[in-house]
């Protein structure tokens, strides 16, 4: 009893920091025995099956790059959890935009698109960036133009009835929650304007227009802890 127990200590540390971890998932100790392998975040079984179908093919099988494209494309088509592909996660204007990345671990080549509008095939656009440009990341409408010029379908409306309904409900809820901080108005829709937070709010007098001390004003608007609402709003169906 006088000796420390490493397992117990690790358990205490994990509990303290709210960590969680999975036991290694049955991989081989030596290479080759379990290949090919496909791993994906979340229980996106159809996406993994799509990638598996490519990489398990006869002979040498399909390439890892082609398998990743197949897997991610399947998720885009299925709109996995509403967080992948068109028709989900509207921005403040109600628009859906897409981000994607692909990386070849053999050549260390990367292609990516970000905030891409009007094109639904995000992972294919990323692959086109990787294979047909010397760049790594294209963004916004220029990414859209590139993708369409390389043969992808578009321009396409990426909204869906579900995303529009979600956005309308959010507007009716005074645009809450949102990602703004240190702005006015904090509890309503924009346009927003920056506010200057005094260096020592506690010692500040009355904040103009509100009739509250600055400390009260900030507390009421949740600005003393601006990250609270953000963390509460991140969940299985709203994340990157």
């Amino acid at each position: 009893m006088g000796r420390s127990n490493p397992g117990l200590l690790l358990g205490i540390v994990l509990l303290r920091f709210n960590w969680c971890l999975a036991v290694d998932g049955g991989g081989a100790e030596e290479g080759g025995g379990v290949f090919p392998v496909v791993v994906s975040t979340w229980p996106f079984r159809e996406a993994v099956r799509a990638a598996w179908d490519v990489v398990k093919a006869g002979g040498a099988g399909g390439s890892a790059v082609d398998a990743v494209v197949a897997g991610c494309s399947a998720c885009e088509e299925l709109r996995c959890d509403g967080t992948v592909g068109p028709g989900g996660s509207p921005d403040e204007d109600g628009e859906t935009t897409l981000d994607a990345l692909i990386m070849n671990g053999k050549t260390m080549e990367i292609g990516a698109v970000a905030a891409m509008r009007y094109v639904k095939d995000a992972i294919m656009a990323a692959k086109l960036v990787m294979e047909h440009t010397g760049h790594t990341l294209l963004v916004g409408e220029k990414a859209t133009s590139f993708a369409i010029s390389m043969g992808l379908t578009g321009p396409t409306n990426l909204s869906s009835p579900e995303s529009v309904a979600k956005w309308s409900k959010w507007r009716q809820n005074n645009c809450q929650p949102n990602f703004w901080k240190n702005v006015n108005p904090a509890g309503n829709c924009g346009p927003y304007h920056p506010i200057n937070i005094p260096k020592d709010p506690v010692k500040s007098a009355v904040w103009e227009n509100e009739g509250l001390t600055c400390q009260e004003w900030l507390k009421n608007d949740n600005l003393l802890e601006p990250t609270n609402s953000r963390f509460k709003s991140v969940n299985r169906h709203n994340h990157d």
Partner: protein
């Protein structure tokens, strides 16, 4: 978000991510999805990683680059995954995120903070996709 890693029959590795980002984001905002080393990273010589969660926070730490580099230095996937998550949690205790790590031998593991995480695996010893739950 989906973040995926594949090791093909030749032992070559590729990773990818696709997402429509955070709901009600400020127009123009880009999360960690298309950022190399944040949402995904892979190197044939070492292994790969895929991540999910609060991208605005995760992209400040490049957790998947960290995982791969930790494995390059000899860490097992489990330790590398926990280490990368802990680096974020140390600075952002309320952070929500998760990742998986897989080395070039096919050994995989997951780690998360602030939520229950699941990841999916299929290899040649399995009859179908297996879903692994990573519980707090």
């Amino acid at each position: 978000t989906i973040s995926m890693a594949v090791v093909d029959k030749m032992g070559h590795i590729a990773v990818g991510t696709s997402t429509n980002g955070a709901t009600f984001k400020i127009p123009g905002r880009v999360g960690d999805g298309p950022i190399p080393g944040s949402s995904a990273y892979g190197d044939d010589e070492v292994g790969a990683c895929g991540a999910t969660g609060d991208g605005d926070i995760m992209m400040r730490f490049l957790p998947c680059y960290q995982v791969v580099e930790s494995m390059r230095l000899g860490m097992e996937p489990r330790d590398a995954a926990v280490d990368a998550i802990s680096r974020i949690a140390r600075k952002y205790p309320d952070f929500v995120g998760a990742l998986f790590a897989i080395n070039k031998k096919g050994v995989h593991a997951g780690a998360c903070h602030g939520w229950t995480f699941q990841y999916s695996v299929r290899n040649s010893s399995m009859q179908d996709v297996e879903v692994i739950t990573v519980t707090p």
